[in-house]
Assembly symmetry: C2
Homo-oligomer: 314 residues x 2
């Protein structure tokens, strides 16, 4: 039997953490993870002035780790889960069932928004349309839009999402490489509300890795949908994640180094140079937008044009 690097007790199985280059037993893993998430929340003052918190939960390991750790770290925190049923065949219904069961068992209020039922189309429809090649990007736009809308309509004043360090650094890598300064300014742990219709977003898991999330749900026996979304296969996103793992093999802690350098060194300078872009209201849906029609409404019209799906009036 091996020994835990932290408490030194013998354990039958240990979790090897790339980020720490050491092995932890179950209880040290949980302690380590919750300490880290708590530190992130405090460091970036994520919950200051938040009265009604929403937590976006898809049912995957990241968002399940998020909701479980919030329950454990802040037992008296009151929050509402937001779950989007995206209508991805052989996937979304299983996600919804898992999230609703978890919420019921833990007495958490859960708002489920069923895209197909409310809007008349689903991410599955996008995937089979001509737009299908960019499906991950499209799904991102749809989720961002709907999470904000649902939070706003339910009087929530912040939404926590499960973005992890790997997600964040994958974006940073592309944004630094392409000089996407405007996107870099928005890639940060807390996105404050900059318009009455934009709800503040916080990323409590921004400093933990995908691996840490996986180990945390496993060690806390938290259920999660352990299949990848069937639409993500072979996408560029996955390739990029593999590349980052290869870089991290060569440069230990690369992901955290790049993240820290971004937040501490570059962000303060970039923020001085980029005024918040003027936000108006989309002429179709009235939600905040940087153009006359918002990205969400543009996508939906493209879908209408490119596929024979019947839409509910909206």
């Amino acid at each position: 039997m091996a020994r835990c690097s932290k408490c030194k007790t013998e354990a039958e199985s240990l979790y090897w953490l790339d980020s720490m280059r050491s092995s932890l037993c179950q209880s040290c893993l949980i302690e380590h993870y919750e300490k880290k998430v708590k530190r992130t929340i405090i460091k970036y003052r994520m919950l200051s002035d938040v009265k009604n918190l929403g937590v976006a939960v898809s049912g995957g390991k990241d968002s399940m780790a998020l909701v479980r750790s919030l329950l454990n770290i802040f037992p008296s925190l009151n929050f509402t889960v937001i779950h989007l049923n995206l209508g991805i065949p052989e996937y979304s219904d299983a996600c919804q069932a898992l999230v609703q069961k978890f919420c019921q068992e833990n007495s958490i209020e859960c708002i489920t928004y069923d895209l197909k039922k409310v809007e008349g189309y689903s991410i599955g429809d996008f995937a089979t349309s001509k737009l299908g090649r960019r499906i991950c990007g499209i799904c991102g736009v749809v989720k961002r839009y709907l999470i904000n809308k649902v939070a706003l309509e339910n009087g929530l004043d912040a939404v926590a999402t499960g973005h992890n360090l790997d997600d964040t650094v994958e974006l940073l890598f592309n944004q630094y490489m392409s000089g996407a300064l405007g996107d870099l300014v928005r890639n940060k742990p807390v996105l404050p509300s900059t318009h009455p219709k934009i709800v503040k977003k916080i990323k409590p898991l921004v400093e933990v890795t995908e691996q840490e999330n996986l180990y945390y749900v496993l060690s806390t026996h938290t259920g999660y949908v352990d299949r990848e979304c069937p639409l993500v296969k072979g996408s560029r996103m996955l390739k990029r994640k593999k590349l980052l793992l290869r870089i991290e093999e060569e440069i230990p802690n690369f992901k955290y180094l790049l993240f820290k350098s971004h937040v501490k060194r570059f962000l303060p300078i970039l923020e001085k140079h980029f005024e918040a872009p003027a936000i108006r209201e989309c002429e179709r849906c009235g939600m905040p937008s940087m153009n006359s029609v918002c990205s969400y409404c543009k996508l939906v019209s493209k879908l209408r044009l490119s596929s024979p799906v019947s839409f509910s009036s909206h």
Copy 2:
């Protein structure tokens, strides 16, 4: 026989260029290379106001490609070669012989500075001292200092060096990762003179890759020292270069993208935030320094303390 991607003539052997993802025959390769270098020199106005150009030539493929391309692109340009004999056993003397022969054959004035003869010690002495583990960094400080000093003493008003895209991006990668903003500001194609004792530095090869330099010296039958410096073996620099090659396999043109993003997007912003640091004169040697004693003089005193080499008075 294969065909050249550009002129379509059949050739027995072609050069496969990673940067272009195509194969060129000898004459198209030369044309491609010289066009690219010329464009870089013009784009960054490297030779504007330069009356007496120095060209730092070590004898390796990069600097030999530099001096050969300058001869070919600007046949009437008058320049002086600066060669440092760094006193690396079984290496430096071969470099000096090659550079001097090339200069003689091409009627180029050549200033050779023999470190051991003039200063009483060599890079070889550093390598065998306690400081030996950081030898590549030390050699960099010594070369930068001496190239500037020799240029200044010989009335040259700019020095061209053979830094290529791989060198540059390797540094950029580390500097972005560690948030070394001050170093990023100095990582650029032209370093202007910011003090009467600092000679302007230009990098005409900053947009060509190591591979392009190699193919150019081969296709122009330019001699070069085709061994790596014996001291560089196993250093972190080589590992980092391999990592960059792996990234480039995954993201075509990664090196150029990062370079362009740096120069076009980040540099203008970073330069506004970093005033040129106050430059004074080193209290020991009188050369420009950011501290009371310059990095070069600090290194030399450390060497005196750590090894029994006899120094010439200096």
